[in-house]
């Protein structure tokens, strides 16, 4: 008897909850006329950024590709005349990407970043394959000041040995001075 009463009560409470929702505001938005708010650190379309000097940040270290759980990033390292590493080509297959953000977490140079732009659907899946020229933007993205090569020990154009952050001048091995 008690069981039956409890069941009826449960039904009534459910009905009441549904009726209440009839008068509350809808959560759905009229997309695309009405755009939802995406916070700056929302994880969507991936870009490759540049450092404050306007040079490519990506050094083709391959850590993003290794971290990617769906293996949708491939690239090839190249090196310019002054020793700076960069990606000869850089490809993301967005039709596989799950926007997990592990590539951004793995990136030691803040080069690869996820942006709030999620509107990159295509009718043709082939168009979801982005090459380096599609990914590279002209700004530094979320991290305005970071410049990897200012911290690294490798010398590149515009930064000789000993000119990086907290580096001494190169040693003259022929000197016996302490």
């Amino acid at each position: 008897m008690l069981e039956a009463l409890k069941a009826v009560q449960s039904q009534l409470v459910t009905l009441w909850t549904v009726i209440q929702h009839t008068f509350s505001r809808a959560d759905t938005v009229e997309y695309p006329e009405q755009k939802p708010y995406t916070p700056p650190r929302y994880r969507a379309r991936i870009v490759l950024t540049r450092d404050p000097d306007g040079e490519e940040r990506c050094v083709a270290c391959n850590l993003c590709a290794a971290a990617c759980p769906v293996d949708c990033i491939a690239l090839q390292k190249a090196e310019d005349d002054d020793g700076r590493w960069y990606a000869e080509w850089f490809r993301i297959n967005f039709s596989r990407c799950i926007v997990c953000g592990l590539c951004e977490e793995a990136c030691p140079t803040y080069a690869i970043q996820l942006t709030p732009d999620f509107e990159y659907c295509e009718y043709n899946r082939q168009n979801m394959v982005y090459e380096k020229e599609d990914l590279l933007i002209s700004g530094p993205g979320k991290y305005h000041d970071y410049n990897f090569y200012r911290l690294a020990g490798k010398s590149v154009h515009g930064k000789d040995k000993g000119e990086a952050y907290r580096e001494e001048r190169p040693i003259d091995v022929k000197s016996l001075m302490p």
Partner: protein, 975 residues
């Protein structure tokens, strides 16, 4: 065995080693830097600290360096002790204070011993906030990059380079924390084993420049167990591929063959696989065209190529020519295709000397030393061979044998062999005697007790005299000069005094008499020792011995050419052999022009391919599987690293497909098909306590198409056809072998980019290429660690990403790999009918033949070998074109070292610069093989030489030539 107690657990370890050696052999993780299994201990880095206790009552203990403390009976240590762990964390923090923030732009990243040890020691956060010391880098040549900031001053590089490899141009410079490891000035590192610095250096100071130019992380490289193709030593290598290009070669440990080290030719000579001379498509010559360049050929379909091949093989007037530089399977498929007109690919001189070599190895009183056995000798006689340039890794082994005098002295003085500094201090310059009788100076001269440069005939005569001196039953040469007699007596005294003498000779001089003299010496020594005396014969190409054993009585090239000249042979099929390297050019031109059809199967565009009507692209070692027999008669299997593209097929695939009738009749093939499901291969695999089993798999990996012959069937048929080769099947597990029920993965388990690599071509990924004919798959799924050594694609263990992880796969550090030796020795059983008789044909003493000069071959590690000389970095190290003359001959010809001379040899005209060297005997002319177009074919007859008045020195010096990117790296200035 000794009992030691590590963290309250008792272990049995081999006696006489140090605690680090013991811990690593037990599979325990203990970080280290300055210790290397081949270099011993110096206690420089302080990283391997452990706590040692007096006895079970000692609770305080004291910190000791594991590498400097003997593993004595009952030693009680703790690796996990908090104080020891803190000490190690402190040391790594100190070592890292000056280390740059470079890992993302460092070639070592991902396979870095420093990264691994930092992780292992728990140093995860940088507290040091002061400035870092910096260094300028040096240009070190076309092989090695230098990035000195990354150095942690472990001293391994100079200890390897100077002590182990005998180099003198890499030093420790400077003082205190300014120490610098480099050359006195920018320039090429000259030692031919400099590439090993890449693996010896625990950080990224020395990195592979050729790899850096087309770089991929280790975790992205698809690898396979492979065998070096650039000489007959048969070093085990692990080549890596990505995006369809072979990216690099690293060492794959084999304790009997190459140990931890490769030569630079083997490491940097892989460029021919990706080179612009590489053939990928079937080509046929345009009708009637006289042009013989690549442009004259037009691309045809693979099916047309198959038809042409089948037609040629079906005719009775066709002959086929095999090759000593390709696998046994390829040669055997060719032999099966045309048994009547089969030529093994050797010239008459080569055929004769190779058969002598096989006969020697089958003598009951001659033992065949493996390269590792060479290190145990206490006196070595090298007869005629410049081993540094023809079998480089043997020269490294000989160097250790000479140094190992120090170990004997240390043993007598009670110093353990691993106490490197003490042993060297004790030994000073004491060396085991090395005796060299060669035609020219060699790089081993500096450590040799006796060097003498002689003409090949005189080397052989002296060899016979030495054999007679050791055992008077051996035939003696007549009319030796007093100097020769005295020299022979000195050599005999040294060899008689030795307990473990060893003889090395080789086929490089193409002198059968030298080989016979070496055999006589070994025979007389074996009578003295009352045991077979080790004799190692260096051979010319990676499968010279295999080809010689397969086709002992086959026709020589000269006989085949005679057949063409009589008109008996109208069609010719040449497999991976450039005939212009072995035959007189003019004769060959005429013979090839007489042919109705010439088909060449090769992976490179050669002079022979340029004459062909059809060129069928063959797979290189990197795209095919096969068996090679090295100079100690060890059959070893190499596996495809990546699938071939376009029309590329292995030679045996072309040949079996063109000749299905012959193959259907071979029992081994039908048996192989029937047994695929029933063969249970049980191979004890690997790692320490865990014993993996390789058994027949359940997972389907694609089917071999009906009618197709498998590589294993070819191997089995080859083994069945020739009793000497019966064991080759055991060189590696068969295609049905599985690890944990799956194929062995060629890709590391962290391989990245699978869904993006081909996405630009088509976003729908194709399935991975199946490889049903192999125990390895083009996949990352499977077990990468529990494998028999012959199937391990690369070396990796959890927490040990660098090649140093090899100790996880050894039964004991420096010992044999767990899972037993890979490869199988074929000639350990002497021939049943072989009688212990002497060679008696002693050549007459060398006399200069009037005006004519006797050609002798000189070899260069960079440039003499056919395939590696196509690699760009090897070309950069090639010596400039020259010929070598004795000063007397130069005076007679009125030439000096800035002049050129001209001569005609092997049907070609040569005009080359003169190098005058007093080391060369008078009356001979030294021809550098592979340099300036000179080939072994030029050695056939004495040469008439004249001064070339119009000779101009070549514009750019070949010796120190640099490749474009080096110029860029060096600020545009040539070093």
């Amino acid at each position: 065995m000794t009992k030691i107690i590590v963290d309250d657990k008792a272990y049995e370890v081999p006696a006489g080693n140090n605690l680090l050696h013991a811990c690593l052999s037990l599979g325990l993780d203990l970080p280290y830097f300055c210790w290397h299994p081949c270099l011993g201990s110096v206690g420089a880095c302080r990283q391997c600290a452990v706590k040692q206790y007096q006895d079970e009552n000692d609770s305080r203990g004291r910190i000791v360096m594991a590498c400097m403390t003997p593993a004595s009976e009952g030693a009680r240590i703790s690796v996990a002790d908090p104080q020891a762990r803190d000490f190690r964390a402190g040391i790594i923090e100190l070592l890292m204070t000056n280390h740059p923030h470079d890992c993302p732009v460092c070639e070592e990243g991902g396979e870095c011993h420093l990264q691994d040890m930092t992780e292992m020691s728990g140093h995860t956060f940088r507290r040091y906030e002061q400035t870092k010391r910096t260094h300028r880098n040096q240009y070190l040549g076309p092989f090695i990059n230098h990035e000195m900031n990354r150095c942690i001053a472990c001293y391994r590089c100079v200890r390897y380079y100077q002590d182990y490899a005998g180099g003198s141009d890499l030093q420790m410079l400077g003082a205190h924390h300014h120490v610098y490891f480099g050359r006195h000035c920018d320039g090429t590192l000259e030692n031919p084993f400099s590439g090993n610095l890449v693996e010896v250096c625990p950080t990224g100071v020395f990195t592979d420049k050729t790899f850096s130019q087309d770089y991929t992380r280790k975790w992205d490289l698809q690898c396979a167990p492979s065998i070096c193709q650039h000489c007959a030593v048969g070093c085990n290598t692990s080549p890596g591929e990505r995006y369809g290009r072979l990216k690099r070669i690293v060492n794959r440990y084999h304790n009997d063959v190459n140990g931890y080290f490769l030569c630079d030719r083997g490491r940097f000579g892989y460029g021919f696989v990706n080179g612009d001379q590489r053939l990928h498509q079937v080509m046929r010559r345009q009708g009637g065209s006289e042009e013989t360049t690549g442009q004259a050929a037009q691309v045809a379909t693979a099916a047309a190529g198959h038809r042409a091949l089948a037609e040629l093989l079906a005719r009775s007037d066709s002959a086929v020519i095999g090759s000593p530089r390709t696998s046994l399977e390829n040669n055997f498929a060719l032999l099966t295709a045309a048994r009547q007109h089969f030529c093994g690919g050797f010239s008459a001189a080569e055929q004769q000397i190779m058969q002598t070599a096989v006969t020697n190895y089958r003598q009951p009183d001659i033992g065949i030393p493996s390269p590792a056995d060479i290190e145990t000798a206490d006196a070595i006689l090298i007869l005629g061979e410049d081993i540094l340039n023809t079998a480089p890794v043997l020269a490294l082994r000989v160097r250790q044998a000479v140094r190992n005098r120090a170990r004997d002295l240390a043993a007598a003085a009670g110093i353990p062999a691993w106490q490197d500094a003490a042993v060297q201090e004790l030994a000073q310059q004491s060396r085991n005697p090395l005796i060299q009788l060669t035609v020219d100076n060699t790089d081993l001269d500096a450590i040799a007790a006796i060097n003498r440069q002689l003409a090949p005939a005189d080397i052989a005569r002296l060899g016979f005299a030495i054999a007679h001196g050791i055992n008077s039953e051996a035939p003696a040469p007549n009319d030796l000069t007093a100097a020769e007699t005295e020299l022979a007596d000195r050599v005999c005294a040294l060899l008689n005094h030795a307990n473990r003498p060893l003889v090395i000779t080789g086929t490089a001089l193409l002198s059968t008499a030298v080989l016979e003299a070496a055999a006589n010496i070994a025979k007389s020594l074996s009578r003295k020792l009352d045991a077979p005396c080790p004799l190692h014969q260096c051979l010319a190409e990676c499968n010279s011995l295999g080809a010689a054993m397969l086709a002992a009585d086959s026709a020589t090239l000269e006989q085949t050419l005679e057949g063409v000249e009589d008109g008996a042979i109208k069609r010719l099929l040449v497999l991976e052999n450039d005939l212009y390297r072995r035959c007189d050019s003019r004769r060959l031109d005429a013979a090839l022009d007489r042919l109705d059809e010439l088909i060449v199967i090769d992976h490179q565009w050669t002079a022979t391919a340029a004459k062909a009507d059809w060129v069928l692209p063959a797979a290189t070692f990197a795209e095919s599987e096969g068996t090679l027999v090295n100079s100690e008669a060890r059959a070893q299997r190499f596996f495809a690293v990546f699938p071939g593209v376009a029309d590329v097929r292995a030679g045996w695939q072309w040949l079996t497909a063109a000749n299905p009738g012959a193959w259907a009749a071979i029992d081994a093939v039908t048996a192989d098909r029937a047994s695929a499901e029933t063969v249970a291969v049980e191979q004890v695999a690997t790692e320490k306590a865990t014993v993996g089993k390789v058994a027949v798999g359940k997972v389907a990996v694609g089917k071999v198409a009906a009618g197709n012959v498998t590589i294993d069937a070819v191997t089995k048929a080859c083994a069945a056809s020739q009793p000497l080769l019966a064991q080759i099947v055991a060189a590696a597990p068969p295609a049905e072998a599985r690890s944990q029920g799956r194929q062995v993965p060629r890709m590391p388990h962290r391989y990245s980019g699978r869904t993006a690599i081909r996405a630009h071509i088509n976003v729908s990924e194709p399935k991975q290429t199946p490889d049903p004919m192999s125990a390895l798959g083009f996949t990352m799924e499977g077990d990468p660690t529990h494998l028999p050594p012959a199937l391990r694609p690369s070396t990796w263990a959890p927490g040990w990403n660098s090649n140093q992880s090899i100790h996880k796969f050894q039964q004991e550090v420096n010992g044999e790999l767990a899972g037993g030796p890979s490869g199988v020795r074929l000639l350990d059983e002497p021939a049943a009918a072989a009688a212990a008789t002497w060679f008696t044909e002693i050549p007459p003493a060398f006399r200069a033949a009037g005006d004519k000069l006797q050609p002798v071959p000189l070899y260069h590690i960079f440039g003499s070998e056919e395939l590696s000389q196509r690699a760009e970095p090897i070309q950069a190290r090639r010596p400039r074109d020259y010929i070598a003359l004795h000063p007397d001959d130069a005076a007679r010809l009125q030439v000096c070292s800035s002049d050129g001379i001209s001569f005609s040899a092997a049907g070609l005209e040569f005009c080359l610069g003169v190098r005058i060297t007093a080391a060369l005997p008078a009356g001979v002319i030294g021809l550098p093989m592979g340099i300036g177009g000179l080939t072994p074919a030029a050695l056939a007859t004495p040469l008439t030489v004249t001064k070339a008045f119009d000779w101009q020195p070549p514009p750019s010096p070949g010796d120190r030539a640099v490749i474009a990117s080096d110029l860029a790296a060096n600020g545009g200035a040539a070093p």
